[in-house]
Symmetry: C2
Subunit: 418 residues, 2 copies
């Protein structure tokens, strides 16, 4: 398909989504929750059709890696889990209409800052078909329309899930244009979405670094995303050894493939006597340790870290580790090598913790907790559409509230300014 | 200067600003307020030098229009007013460090959402030299570094004001790199700022539509701005005639050149009997009225509106005016022709007002008040760096709070996730 054809297609989708977004913005909480629940019910009803569509995708996917096939694969249990996740979204508090702040001016004008939906959200994702439901229904619950562009390897699964969502919208009396699946797998459609200023209000990429990098590079529409999760855990000299060991093991090893996994371990030189126990525990758990000279001396299994290790998001059971000369050195290392995602200090020294929390310039900064808590569910948001490391709009896990903006309403009694 | 030279220059400025931003982010309120007051004092001290520099700019500006020269011109009273405005900024409440929200999770983790500065703000402006102080010192008070690029016609004035600001920073012990004036008038420097992703966190253009359009078109860095202020005042059928007349006159005529001035007047067909009095009042005040057929019939001085009038921001004593068929038609007109800036309804009918406030998708929506209240000062913000009509981050007048973002701090007692 030519670029102009794709642009025209996206413009058409965008205008329809914009119209639907107007109805959604005015839908009440019960109406939106009802539509999300109806979509969940339709997904359960259509479990066989979705499973069959997914089997077709798997059959077509012989060229893919095992990891990709695992992300792509659905089974009836996974499909039911998608429906359950949708029901959980319907249970969340609706942020739209919340009065964030209200105040009066001496001239009698009364001001309210009211939460409103963002508008039209573009979701660009890869092989996980559950994103079709998870992301779309989070957008819906926050009163937004969504334009969904999934990976071509999941085309049949996405269509089947999307069909169920449309049934849900229809059952709830909401317009089908509110949740649109881009009908072509042409990559030019992604480019057209990224340039659709005025039609799409925000783009949320869900997938690997290559996808996110392309989106951030090409997009003219604002993007909510994180490129890297180079998260640090810093063991301060006043750390409790047992706590430090438990947290470091969890932060690195609980799940190594998530963006909140710790990639670099910083240990105070003044805590060097507790370092070997932590390094040993990581090695015993099967973690590869790439250390500076001091860490290298602690166990012969430690490999030497190369300069690029400090800037690497492994997403694997590998950690880079070095000694630092106290709090300032740790903060400086994080400022230089971090990705403004999530960083933690382990210490019993409250003043050191406060300085770390204040001075580390990341979306999420922690004291005595595992970086793996960087997650919308763990924040109590009930879900998340992604984690943002940009500085504007929303930072950290983004859920319903991050899918809204605000307007100011002013009520007067005839006030004029002149 | 070549593009690459400009890019290198801006990269150098940006890195210095980034370092300075780190100190500013940690400066306390008293320190920042002290620096802003010291800058105000230095502006007063240097009034003669600033006045002389401005006279040089005026002398060099023979090719400019009278309106531009008026924007460019300073005199001792105007310079003192710049210093007074700076003192007013120093009196504002510091938003940084504010705990926006705090909550706990059942596992004992305690969460705080804390306001932090945006980082490095790029200000691109035209001939008004007061922006050098106003914008820079608002950024400073919110803990941000600023990179300032003023119009070439104001180069001497801007340098003189900037020198005073640097004296203020120095007196207060803050780094000079926090407030940088781009040292070249080469237009390529503007392009380099717009592409300085990672060095500049946000661009705020201050000036006419051509400047804002160029910035929005070219910028890779997020932009906080409004392109148009096509503001509407809608006289509902349940409006009080006297109030409607007073508000419409103020909304259109108090100052016609500001973005919150009403450009289009919508009057209910059901209120057609009160329309002539409003139209007449506008004409008597010297406003040109461009009306639809019905408005045209009300006075022979009314000119016929052409289709493009409904999409025009006049910024002059001209108003487009038409009858609408009730609330829905008014809301539809605003959705089609508005610029999401500020729109008002005049009515005694509370239910109609509520629907208008809910359904009009603009940054500011008003009931029984003049659209000319679209102003940071009138909002009680004490100042404004601009008005934003984008959907993300900040909408409406942007002052100190809009120059901040947030991070989440999490405090635990050794929690792990696994």
């Amino acid at each position: 398909m030519k670029d102009e054809t794709c642009a025209a297609l996206i413009a058409d989708l965008g205008m329809k989504a914009r119209r639907a977004a107007k109805s959604l913005a005015l839908a009440d909480s019960a109406g939106k929750a009802g539509a999300v629940r109806a979509a969940a019910a339709a997904i359960r009803d259509e479990v066989d059709a979705i499973y069959a569509a997914n089997k077709q995708d798997i059959a077509d996917a012989s060229a893919l890696s095992d990891a990709m096939i695992d992300r792509l694969r659905l089974d009836p249990a996974r499909i039911m889990a998608i429906a359950d996740a949708a029901d959980a979204i319907a249970d969340l508090d609706d942020p739209v209409g919340e009065i964030i702040k209200s105040w009066n001016q001496p001239n009698g004008l009364s001001f309210e800052r009211v939460r409103v939906p963002l508008g039209v959200v573009g979701i660009i994702y890869e092989s996980r078909p559950n994103v079709t439901a998870d992301a779309a229904l989070l957008c819906l619950m926050a009163g937004n329309a969504a334009i969904l562009r999934g990976g071509s390897e999941a085309v049949n699964s996405n269509r089947a899930i999307h069909a169920a969502i449309l049934r849900g919208l229809d059952d709830a009396g909401l317009p089908a244009d509110a949740m649109q699946l881009v009908p072509t797998q042409d990559r030019a459609a992604v480019g057209a979405m990224l340039r659709a200023v005025g039609l799409i209000d925000i783009i949320i990429p869900r997938g690997g670094k290559t996808l996110v990098a392309r989106v951030q590079e090409e997009a003219r529409v604002p993007v909510l995303a994180h490129l890297d999760g180079i998260c640090h855990t810093y063991v301060h000299r006043a750390a409790d050894l047992d706590m430090a060991k438990r947290i470091v093991l969890d932060a690195k090893m609980r799940r190594t493939g998530i963006c909140g996994a710790t990639e670099t371990l910083l240990i105070d030189r003044a805590a060097v006597d507790i370092a070997p126990a932590i390094i040993l525990a990581l090695l015993e758990e099967g973690c590869e340790v790439r250390g500076d000279v001091a860490i290298n001396g602690m166990d012969r299994r430690v490999k030497p870290a190369r300069p690029e290790d400090w800037d690497t998001e492994y997403l694997e059971p590998i950690v880079s580790a070095r000694l630092v000369d106290g709090l300032d050195d740790a903060i400086a290392h994080i400022a230089r090598h971090g990705s403004h995602h999530t960083d933690a200090i382990i210490t019993e020294d409250g003043a050191a913790a406060q300085r770390f929390l204040a001075e580390v310039d990341s979306a999420i900064v922690m004291h005595n907790a595992s970086t793996q808590f960087a997650d919308g569910g763990e924040f109590g948001f009930g879900a998340e559409i992604g984690i943002a490391t940009g500085r504007l709009h929303a930072r950290g896990p983004v859920a319903l509230e991050g899918l809204t903006t605000y307007k100011t309403t002013i009520c007067g009694t005839g006030q004029t300014r002149g």
